[in-house]
Amino acid sequence: MRHDHLITAKQLSREDIEEVLDRAAEIDADPAAFGDRHADTVLGLCFYEPSTRTKMSFETAIKRLGGDSVDMGTVESSSVKKGESLADTARVVAGYADALVLRHPSEGAAKMVGDFVDVPLLNAGDGAGHHPTQTLLDLYTIRENAGLDDLTIGIMGDLKYGRTVHSLAHALTNFDARQHFVSPESLKLPRSVRYDLHESGANVREHTDLDDVLPELDVLYVTRIQRERFPDENEYHAIAGEYGIDLETLEDASDDLTVMHPLPRVDEIASEVDDTEYAAYFEQAHNGVPVRMALLDLMMEGQQ
């Protein structure tokens, strides 16, 4: 990895991605071999929004590399509450830590902080913008289950505000992937993402109905439609119901279909799907640890 910071999946080349995924596979095969790689490394965690998987998997990753983490805590318990700017808080924490992980509700937050800190910065989600470390574990999961070339993937749900969707779509342009986006009209991909996909010559199609494309999919990536995006409760329930899946929905799917979800899910995937061969979403969440270990390992290596 030649990057000082990981802000967006757009900055990742195919070589960058494969380097991380290959390292993650090595870690998966022999985690103990990496147990003291970064014994003196402290990872600073700045989460301005709630997180379970991302934060815990980063904490686990640095501990399994022999290092430790310091955590800003919740916004309510920190000096952010006193009105400190993000730029100031980040600079202070960068003085305590060897690398920073940032999640923030504003788009562009990580890009801005990257200009203020001189330790590696990993964007763990900026508003509706990007979530590149999630994308790397998504790609790892796809590679393990379906392969990354000659891939037909359906990405369904909240494509407008879903940062995992935006990052995944960008990253997949590095591979031979046909991307089908399935969403209600009101939650289609934002103009900025379409622009980039068009510029990169990506093979992209948009649908409002999953049935149009389900039988040809290798991977179906489902995302949560958030209640707060709809002013009307009934409209939310109608839409959310239409873009959820259960065993009946999957009757038309290929036997080899891999179903993924960045989690947390609410009603998008019925629990009856969990025990089928389709379900890869818990495996996907577990992959957060080896992939984030690989990423930290490579980024810290690049600093030496």
């Binding site: 993000l86 730029a87 923030h104 504003s106 788009e107 890009k111 801005m112 103009r191 900025s192």
Partner: protein
């Protein structure tokens, strides 16, 4: 020009921005941060008949020469404009408008959730595309209403 038309007098030192697309003169003043409070003498012609453009706007500012940053942003809202720097009543310099690669600190981002709208110590930066501009922070693309997002102090 006939005797019935109003003639705007020549300026001694300053800038004449001519051939502005009709209706854009007030936006040009906004880019230049001119609202009268600075004391400059300003003449504005709106919808002035023009042989070349049918109608055009024209702005004359006494005692002010434009910076390159100001010229760059002018090129986004008034690409056809010509700029003459006047010294002692003569045209001392002609500046041509070229679209810049990026504009810094002049436009505000239309995305309220962008970090540049969050009271952080950061200037806006926009990449200039063929048909609009794009925030380098949140990546929002602005096409039709660039002039409405000029950040006036």
């Amino acid at each position: 020009m006939s005797d019935h038309e109003l003639r705007v007098s020549k300026i001694r030192n300053g800038t004449v921005i001519d051939h502005i697309r009709a209706g854009q003169a007030l936006n040009v003043l906004a880019i230049l941060g001119i609202d009268g409070t600075g004391g400059e003498t300003v003449s504005v012609g709106i919808n002035v008949p023009s042989d070349r453009m049918h109608h055009k706007d024209i702005v004359k500012v006494e005692g002010k020469e434009l910076s390159q940053d100001e010229v760059d942003v002018l090129s986004l809202v008034a690409p056809e404009a010509t700029i003459n720097i006047i010294r002692e009543y003569e045209v001392a310099e002609k500046q041509h408008l070229e679209r810049p690669d990026r504009v810094v600190g002049v436009l505000s981002c239309p995305n309220h959730n962008c970090i540049t709208n969050a009271d952080e110590p950061v200037e806006t930066k926009f990449e200039v595309l063929d048909d609009g501009v794009r925030c380098e922070y949140c990546e929002t693309i602005l096409r039709d209403s660039i002039a409405a997002h000029i950040a006036v102090e």
